[in-house]
Amino acid sequence: MLDAIGVGSLDDLIGDIPPEHRHPRLNLAPGLSEQELAAEFAAIAAENASPARGYISFLGAGAYRHYIPSTVRSILQRGEFVTAYTPYQPEAAQGTLQVGFEFQTIICQLTGMEVANAGMYDGPTAFAEACLMAARITRRTRIGVLSTADARLPGTLMAYSKYQDIELVDIDPDATEIPDDLACISIQSPNFFGEIEDVEHLTKLAHEKGALSVVHVNPTALGMFRPPGDFDADIVTAEGQPLGVPLAFGGPYVGLFACKRAHIRQMPGRIIGKTTDTRGRVGYVLTLQTREQHIRRERATSNICTSTQLIGLMVTVFVATLGKQGMKDLAQLCYQKAHYAAAEIGRLAGFEVESASSGGSSGSGSSGKAYFHEFVVRCPGPPAAINAALLKRKIIGGLDISDRSDNGMLVCVTETSSKADIDRFVAALGVIGAAR
């Protein structure tokens, strides 16, 4: 090949690299055969505590353990999906594009919204982009965020808007009045503590002041709770991970993003539209691209380019597999198991369950709000100490949220926990609590 190029060696091709810096010393290990590599990874994986090693876990707080049906894994083996690029040549990417159109449809159906994009990086970035979109639409700079939101949501927004003249305003979830000049009220529901917020009331408050309502949901909860579209929400975002995506130590996940049709030209991210070919056959294309960085450059609605199409495929296959009934059943199972766990923990001496719906075990300080599959337990001592004791019993306890709630532990229970798992957790808490 060098002959055909007309050079004697590789160095003739890289003559522009300053010679004194060419071929530097690299301190890297020699290569491994596939077999050696597999052994190395098996050792790394074995250093982690996972269900495969007999651990049970009650962690949630934005990432949730759910059963992933075999169909999702099976379709994820299709190299035609896995090793394709962004569908810039639509004729050669109808598979990716039609899946994206299905994804947008499913997100609209779950959220009750009119339009959705093909996905963002993850939940918090979708939330941040939604708030910035509200600022663009209203031409206002103050963004109200409910005080019950996961701190990672405003945290990501702050990093995204550091130089964009955006100010965060803390909003009480029980507010009856809000400032006049907000771009939006951003509501996480279920909130960080698992409770359902009054999206209808807060959206009305926002609209009375010319602000938008941005609602960050848990998509699993939408199998039973009314969707934000019912309450006239303007933009809806979510972490898509619960819909068939492995926990994988935090990523990659996919951000869900939906809004009212009137706002589509302010929406960030890829959007897939339906059209026809020269013979009148239906096909799909990336559309409304004049919003995007590769056309609009510094005036784009976002800098996002590579996104999370493949994770969107997982979500699409997951929802197609569970279907209408499965999504309802999944939400019910999570709800039932979480409420059972809360009731049992609430009976333990020294432990109180803070969130409590009607009929649940009602601890003091109850907000009285309904909750989905997460709730706050007030522990008889520091949650860190209790979690350390649980870990000795191969139980990964709930998240220590003592920074936000006195001796608070945020416990999550999904359909993956059997009654036996829950009983084991509750019994362990009882023993650990009694020893204090």
Partner: protein, 494 residues
């Protein structure tokens, strides 16, 4: 049930959407019965009545998505010389390893002592990337190149602010840059100033000298450039920027050309990002997930986005943790970045090792030059000199004969070859950007050259073949104008 207009001729596949396949009561999956005592439901006013979602069988799910997959071109099935995207082979073992129990099923908020293996993996990948680029401060948090880029600019701003030099609000960007560069600069509150390229495709050094001043926060340079060229004046350029008090940001999208050949840090680069989904072989997934680690010189590490993996102690007693650097620009996303993408990239680096990595770039450069040599008598070159890992052709000669770059790209699809990147960089008329990568054999490159020469013949002998291309794909050219004018973005009941 109507079949709809999709099926026009025998052999076309059934492309009806899931909702059009839906039959009430049909199911693909059953959840277990609840094994806990029945709990009281919340107030009915909170609950939704129904939810409109597909109802299909499991076979239909598998068949539908399997058939859709066959409508795609992909690396596994096609030569995919898409410039600047580095469509190399994605080793299958890496997918398997990333999906191992113990990696795929660990929660991001687990206590550090229960995820020592995962954090060790992140730390070792950080170190390897730092070694490869010569920029030792590394955060794997950014979820794609654009996020890495944005993180890099926030770091530059934080650095200037810490030096009470906050009036630096300009990003200088070459006219050949990728669109995310100006978009990220604008997000970071920087004014974009464009520096010209000269007729050789290099940065116009005199123009840069005029633009670099006390307002320069950063110069964003893609190395090699989007023309596939290594900037011969790189040392002079980084000196001009540093003398003006600015920082040099390298867009690492084209790092596949540099592995083991040169370290960016040695050239005076202060900050860069790397696309793991390009250089380090993690699958593109039809448009993500990606991963865009940001890498900086040692004294800038204090500003990196959180988290960064850290190691304490040595040998068997060492422990690992995730931490926020002292003056971190903050979290850019929910957790720790694309962990399972990082795992694949780490597997790729470990498998290749030092010698393997070097041969990646060597073979990528030879492949691109081989294509350039095989086509330069038929197609104009954006710059008539040896290229790095990609070559940019210009179809101006073909355009004069009535066929555009777009037409040529579409005609390539008929031969089962994915189109090159078209009309980019913007400074090249009728640009066709071709990046073969190191993965492809000489036979594949020869075939590609032969096809490109045949298409050039067809410009005169059978122009209609090119104008109407593609002919043999699931669809012919699509009406993108109508799609944008009257957007249909979801299924709805007819």
């Amino acid at each position: 049930m109507t079949i709809g207009p999709d099926i026009e001729r025998a052999g076309d596949i059934d492309r009806r959407l899931l909702m059009d396949r839906s039959v009430a009561g049909r199911r693909a999956f059953t959840l277990p019965e609840s094994d806990v005592p029945v709990q009281e439901l919340p107030d009915p006013s909170l609950l939704r009545d129904d939810i409109e979602l597909p109802e299909v069988s499991q076979l239909e799910v598998i068949r539908y998505f399997s058939l859709l997959s066959q409508l795609n071109f992909s690396i596994d099935t096609n030569f995919y010389p898409l410039g600047s995207c580095t469509m190399k082979y994605n080793p299958k073992i890496n997918d398997e390893l990333a999906n191992l129990p113990g990696l795929a099923d660990i929660h991001p908020l687990q206590p550090a002592e229960t995820v020592q293996g995962a954090i060790r993996l992140l730390k070792e990948l950080q170190d390897d990337l730092g070694e490869i680029t010569g920029l030792p401060g590394v955060s794997l948090a950014p979820l794609a190149g654009a996020q890495g880029e944005y993180a890099g600019l926030l770091i530059a701003r934080a650095y200037h602010q810490a030096r009470h030099d906050a009036e630096r609000t300009v990003a200088i960007i070459p006219d050949s840059a990728h669109g995310t560069n100006p978009a990220s600069a604008s997000m970071a509150g920087l004014e974009v100033v464009t520096v010209r390229s000269d007729d050789q495709g290099n940065v116009d050094v005199e123009n840069l000298r005029e633009l670099a001043d006390s307002r320069t926060a950063a110069f964003m340079l893609t190395i090699p450039s989007t023309l596939g060229l290594f900037e011969p004046n790189i040392l002079e350029i980084t000196k001009i920027i540093h003398d003006a008090g600015g920082l040099v940001y390298a867009d690492g999208a084209n790092l596949n050309a540099l592995l083991g050949l040169v370290k960016l840090g040695d050239l005076g680069v202060d900050i860069c990002h790397s696309n793991l989904h390009k250089t380090f072989s993690t699958p593109h997934g039809g448009g993500g997930p990606g991963s865009g680690p940001v890498l900086v010189r040692a004294d800038l590490a204090r500003y990196l986005p959180e988290p960064v993996a850290e190691k304490t102690g040595d040998g068997p007693d060492s422990t690992y943790r995730l931490a926020a650097p002292a003056d971190s620009i903050g979290p850019l996303n929910g957790f720790h970045g694309s962990f399972s993408i990082a795992a694949r990239a780490y597997a790729y680096i470990r498998a290749l090792g030092i010698e393997g990595l070097r041969s990646v770039s060597e073979n990528a450069i030879i492949g691109a030059n081989y294509i350039q040599a095989g086509l330069k008598d038929r197609y104009d070159l954006a710059a008539d000199r040896y290229c790095m890992h990609e070559t940019v052709l210009s179809a101006t000669r073909q355009k004069k004969r009535g066929v555009s770059g777009l037409d040529i790209a579409k005609r390539l699809l008929d031969f089962g070859i994915h189109a090159p990147t078209m009309y980019f960089p913007l400074i090249v008329e009728e640009a066709l950007m071709i990046e073969p990568t190191e993965s492809e054999s000489k036979e594949t490159l020869d075939h590609f050259i032969a096809v490109m020469r045949q298409i050039d013949d067809e410009v005169d002998s059978a122009p209609e073949l090119i104008h109407d291309a593609p002919h043999d794909l699931p669809v012919t050219r699509l009406d993108e104008a109508t799609a944008a004018r009257r957007p249909v973005l979801r299924w709805s009941a007819e």
